[in-house]
Symmetry: C2
Subunit: 438 residues, 2 copies
């Protein structure tokens, strides 16, 4: 439901929030967990606005926000308690935040006067993981990605018969999810070259990123209950960017018959700001239209509303910066830009499928879409696809070639929600630099 | 290291602990989390002894145990804080518990006098999950199970080339792990018969159990660090039984290419008592000897100590009771008894492998062995194998046939550590009854 927090004309008294290209205009208001770098203060929940973070509990102290369970839940080191609030309560809270940051109105006026006490510069803050993540599930919802990868791993059988009937997913590792900016050691693992007689153990030679959209569960479901597809969005608190780092050589050797394991669980990086479902509302679009030959989804994955409205007009971008590029003060180079509205399965279908057997979702659980790749060559969301398993290296502005990631490479993911006549909402950044194997 | 708590001659002043066949003699002392059914008291940590639970915090109040971080950690609703203690501190704590429960010595004398205040009858208590489980990983370490199942799913290729090089594992779902006694709804899911043109959605028709040994991580490792195989046991706090319920028809259709997902994550049942690594120490045996044709494990999975000492002389049993058997007051029938010392991979190898890429283990993480099947027909740890995918039904004492589980069936798992001239240590029970699909 579109409300006054979505008004495209709204402006903030914080000028950087009104600048074109800013990730965090007043229509966004994503939640995250920050610590002021200078102080020894504990982490707490804030809202990104322009170049700043709004300190929610400071706003309550200043009388700019009414005390409420939602506001109270921001005085914690994770947003889980906030996420568990009803959508209507979250919506009311978001309206209050919007008023406090608005260039119009008396609350905004008072907030501006209190700016030095309620704002923290983003560059002065350290961001933690936004939520305590109980379980992490990764899907495989881009048919372009699945077809590309399938044709490399199983040339005779790229897209398996189940793909268009259900959103394929698997469980990932929650312990190794880290916030943007955390360096990632190149993993070691067991690999076997196709022509080798036996495997060996050592640093991965085919380290890759995967650019994905993550979504957090707000209210969960009890064990044994399902989530009907038309209720799925009520259970989605919001979105973030996910880099599902992958060691392709480890994956090739280990993944049969039970799926990826050590190839993925050494690290998963997420962006620290959670863009709420409510903020994303005006950017919802029709789900990808099925081809005439595609099966109609079974009833528990099928809904007119989801077909009309279950897509998301998001774009995910991947940038790379090698250490040599940084030495030469070159900007990171963009490797890809992928449209999320080309995903075969919607987030509603993924969540409804996940709970269709009675599996319980808990507040703070993270689900991710799988690599977001579009139909074009420059919309492929991982190096495996971009370089076609290393056979077509990409060339960096320095002339360096990349088949897979080298030590010192930094991967920077960005993402945006876009709609005509509306400000672009950004997800912020999801960054990680590769360190040599430990 | 064997110490006085392992003395096979030790007896407790609690007579039921000395009875032959008792799961919980004084040499066992497993930890669990209990609530007295009659009272509104909060859950806390106890120790199983004979037919009773020793209330650890009550013992501290009575002056029978010295206040210590380990004892203090028992005044909580999960054993995580206890698990994170150093092995030496846990060993000292276990010695104190042994003294308090011993039929000899003055502490035992005083404890006996306080019996009514420090003991709870097990039948008067409700057991919760012992630990907060951050991540749950399931392995596939029985070569007999892997060969049997592989030959059904991939007749041309039963044991994949990677099997004998690394312990295959995958991530399971932590949210749906439930304690013994929790009823389990038959899951619904998408399945496709081999001869059907399209899949359908409905209650699973091939619901199965899997009998596994679980092991809990005590002290973890930091992200980016590995766990050398010779240190693995220092990180294992203890053991429990695991029933990895599996919907085989769902699994067959969904598992490629990313592994089991909804076929498994609707429920996993564990026994509530954690038998410590220290209690298990005298039951460690040589790992399964490799055949002449088997590859020698790579260095990170290979150790003389693990080969000599990394096996565990445990036996896992599965019993079934149908509702008709219960109506006729028949005892549950034993379906299988499987030797854990026939597993291809040791628990040390599984843990070392899991962390070999730097994946961080956290205190309370649960790892499970995968179905424990031995080489004999009656040592097969799931119905899929026992009935050879339903083609050879088992006959219950009522004359009923079982290919897979029916509504009303109760599955009861038991397990034991056995050694010559030592008391048998039991894991307690892991029970679950199947309710109709929700």
């Amino acid at each position: 439901m579109i409300n006054r927090t979505h008004d495209p004309e709204l402006r903030s008294w914080i000028e950087s929030a009104n600048a074109p290209g800013c990730d965090f205009p007043i229509q966004n208001l994503p939640f995250g967990v920050f610590t002021r770098s200078a102080e020894g203060s504990p982490p707490k929940v804030g809202v990104a606005i322009g170049d700043f973070i709004l300190d929610v509990s400071a706003c309550v102290q200043e009388g700019l926000l009414d005390p409420s369970p939602a506001a109270d839940a921001c005085d914690e080191s994770a947003i889980n308690r906030l996420m568990a609030r009803k959508p209507s309560a979250l919506s009311a809270f978001r309206s209050e935040l919007s008023d406090a940051l608005s260039a119009a109105g008396s609350v905004g006026e008072r907030a501006r006067a209190a700016a030095s006490r309620i704002l923290v510069e983003r560059s002065d803050a350290v961001m933690s993981l936004p939520a305590e993540i109980g379980d992490y599930t990764d899907f495989y919802a881009s048919v372009h990605h699945a077809t590309n990868v399938g044709s490399m791993f199983r040339p005779d059988n790229p897209l398996l018969p189940n793909y268009k009937w259900l959103p394929i997913g698997y469980h990932g590792r929650a312990s190794s999810i880290v916030p943007s900016g955390t360096p990632v050691h190149r993993p070691s693992g067991q690999t076997k070259a196709a022509d080798a007689e036996r495997p060996t153990f050592g640093p991965s030679k085919m380290l890759d990123y995967e650019s994905e959209l993550g979504f957090f569960v707000g209210r969960g479901n009890a064990l044994g209950e399902s989530i009907p597809i038309d209720s799925a969005w009520d259970h989605i608190f919001g979105f973030c960017l996910v880099n599902d780092w992958s060691a392709r050589d480890v994956q090739t050797w280990e993944y049969q018959p039970l799926g990826p394991f050590l190839a993925k669980n050494f690290a998963t990086t997420i962006s620290p700001w959670v863009v709420t479902s409510e903020a994303a509302e005006p950017y919802r679009v029709a789900a990808l239209a099925r081809d005439a030959n595609d099966p109609k989804p079974l009833p528990h994955l099928s809904s007119d509303e989801d077909a009309r409205y279950g897509g998301l007009n998001a774009f995910l971008e991947v940038y790379l910066s090698s250490s040599s590029m940084r030495d030469k003060r070159m900007d990171p180079v963009r490797l890809s830009r992928a449209p999320f509205n080309q995903m075969y399965w919607t987030v509603g279908q993924m969540l409804a499928h996940h709970a269709s057997n009675g599996c319980n979702m808990r507040t703070g659980d993270l689900l991710a879409s799988g690599t977001v790749s579009g139909p074009e060559n420059d919309s492929r969301g991982c190096l495996l696809e971009l370089t076609w398993r290393g056979t077509q290296p990409v060339t960096l502005p320095t002339g360096e070639k990349r088949r897979f990631l080298q030590d010192g490479d930094e991967v920077i993911m960005k993402g945006y929600l876009e709609a005509d006549n509306r400000p672009r909402l950004g997800f912020g950044e999801c960054r990680g630099i590769i360190l040599p194997a430990a």
